[in-house]
């Protein structure tokens, strides 16, 4: 499905929030590095999807009513076989039903588990004065507690992406601390510029969160994605 079709489909269901599966699909279409996720409606579909995505697999509940998936037992990590995946599917459905009985469960998203990397966040929200504003920061406490983030308005130029990545106080973390190899800054800059282009091409996107993006010594990939359309 094209971006327009995905958005149209969501609107026809009265949603402005795209599911993780949908969000990643449209970002993937735009050439942005995401860990693609596939929607499975039963354990058997989940196993097939994991085979396609690759092992180890990650399963996450897909529900318009669940805000924090791991809080309701809606996430299973590091699944190495089809059997594990089938069992995990049933576990997730049971756990979510127990924790939040009225939650609508549309299925489970299946994706390949990405190897550990440095967590960063790339986001976009709208400012009443300046329109689409992109945000970049390191994941976790850096963003939530220290508010260590950089902003730029869309469209970004290569210079802006370069500065954004280097402007945060925690930049040293990306340069590699405690013997870690430096993160691939060019890949991060490229991802930021691609998102800027995506937003420019789709003004109907109201909010976007790639959280986290995992940065590696060679490359970067968004492992979770959330898009809100108007």
């Amino acid at each position: 499905m094209s971006v327009a079709e995905v958005i149209e489909n969501a609107r026809s269901e009265g949603r402005t929030l795209l599911t993780e599966v949908e969000s990643k699909q449209v970002l993937h279409e735009a050439g942005i590095a995401v860990a693609l996720a596939f929607l499975a409606h039963d354990a058997n579909e989940a196993a097939k999807a994991a085979d396609k995505a690759g092992f180890p697999a990650v399963l996450k509940v897909v529900s318009p009513d669940v805000a924090h998936k791991s809080d309701v037992g809606g996430v299973r990590l590091g699944l190495d076989s089809k059997d594990d995946v089938e069992r995990a599917f049933d576990d997730i459905v049971a756990a979510v039903k127990a924790a939040q009985p009225d939650a609508r469960i549309e299925g489970v998203a299946v994706q390949k588990m990405a190897p550990a990397g440095t967590e960063v966040i790339v986001g976009m929200s709208k400012d009443s004065q300046f329109g689409s504003v992109m945000m970049f920061g390191l994941g976790g406490v850096f963003v939530e507690v220290l508010k260590d983030v950089a902003f730029r308005i869309v469209p970004l130029e290569p210079k802006d992406a370069r500065e954004m990545v280097r402007e945060i106080k925690g930049f040293a973390v990306l340069e590699g601390v405690r013997g870690q190899k430096p993160a691939d800054l060019a890949a991060l800059e490229n991802l930021i510029l691609q998102v800027s282009e995506f937003i420019e091409a789709h003004p109907e996107v109201e909010e976007l969160d790639l959280n986290p993006v995992l940065a590696y010594p060679d490359g970067a990939i968004a492992v979770d994605a959330r898009i809100v359309v108007s």
Binding site: D127, S128, Q129, F130, G131, V133, V149, A150, F151, R152, I153, L156, E157, P158, K159, D160, R162, E163, E167
Partner: protein, 484 residues
Amino acid sequence: MTQLFGAPADLQKRLDRAFNPRTVVVVGDKRAMGYLWLNCMKTFDGKVYSVQVDPNEISGIEAMGVLNYKSLRKVPDDVDYVVCAVPRPIAPRIIADCVEKKVGAVALFTSGFAETETEDGIALQEQITQMAREAGLLLIGPNCMGIYNRRLGVRHSTDQPAGDPGNVGFISQSGTHCINFSLVGALRGVKCSKTVSFGNAVVLDAPDYIEYLANDPETEVIAMYVEGTKDGRLFFDVLRRTARRKPVVVWKGGVTAAGSRAVYSHTASLATAPAIWDAVMRQAGVVQTESLDETIDAVNALTYCKPGTGARMGLIAMTGGQSVVITDAFERAGLEVPLLTSASYEKLSSFFNIIGGSYRNPLDAGGTIGMGFAPGNLQKLLEILEEDGNVDAIAMEVGASFIARRLRENPALLDQLVETLASHKNRSAKPFVAIAHPGHVEDVMADIRARLIARGIAVFGSFQAGAQALRRTIDYWRARRDLN
């Protein structure tokens, strides 16, 4: 706004007429205001007329030797610029006259519009806005001081200098900051080309004026005071375009939460989150400041320092104590104070007086250069720093205040010092800043600063101010260099 007036080139031409008028009309000047506006125009060598209907006022106006008419429509010449100070209920009538007379532009000094947050004020503002827009009338304000053109002597304060050209443009929502920038700036070496205070900005807004100054060949540096913007995207686009052509300094008011409350009642523009504003300004490639002093200092550094992108400082101070704090100030501003090359050390060792001094960098040089009054050695130091490959820019403490009394008694010493620094600056390719602290003999120190800036040397009242101003210029030239 711009599209109201046809192609951008048309607006440019029309604004140029208003900013460089040949005929000015003041409407509604009063004795109670000391005939402020007509007095402001005394320095204007074009034609000045008055429009006033009150017989009690007319006699005073005619006593000033100004021709008065009962109506703008009766003024015999084409009118390029009108300043209107009538009470607010009369404003629509004067706007209609301006339209009829096809004036170049009108600045409405009249206030009492949307800024009062009253129904009456808002309705009246809407009325004049609509009238001006429909007719394509260039309306500046309302609630503003309008245009200052130094060269032509079109002023909005009777203290403003006139008659000679300037190179710094300033735009401001606030009249106070517009006037203060021109007055305090003039005292400190800033020569304004054109400034405008534009108040409620109902027809022409900041982007229009920025664009005009960007295209104005007389204006080399643009500074502004803003509290917010009605169209952030347009403002950003114009700033970014302009900053690629000439340095732009943006002093933002209403940054704090309480400050932005004051903004709303002041000029009725929307506030934006400080972090976003800061990012947008960086992205546009402009210099940001937070006060009048910082704005003047940044403008001076951008005007008088050679452009440079390197952050490695060569520092000269007069004493040991000052050597320490000048270094702290420049390091804290994000600049570096490196060791010099071995070639420099070799040269320095041949003549530098190390009794009560040292020359690693900073150069604690008071003894070597006779507190600045041994021009031979001073010139040698400056030449060594100029040639040193580890040094990108030079800062020097000038005239320690405790020797200022000597200067008052022997002004020839100061002449020599100023001459040495001026000739260094003219030969040098590196940014040079001088610092002359206010002391217990401030009149002498002020004189030193005035004489240095008159010779084109950027001079500051403290190490911090000099360091920050230089840092801002380096950031500006780096941003320009890094454009793709």
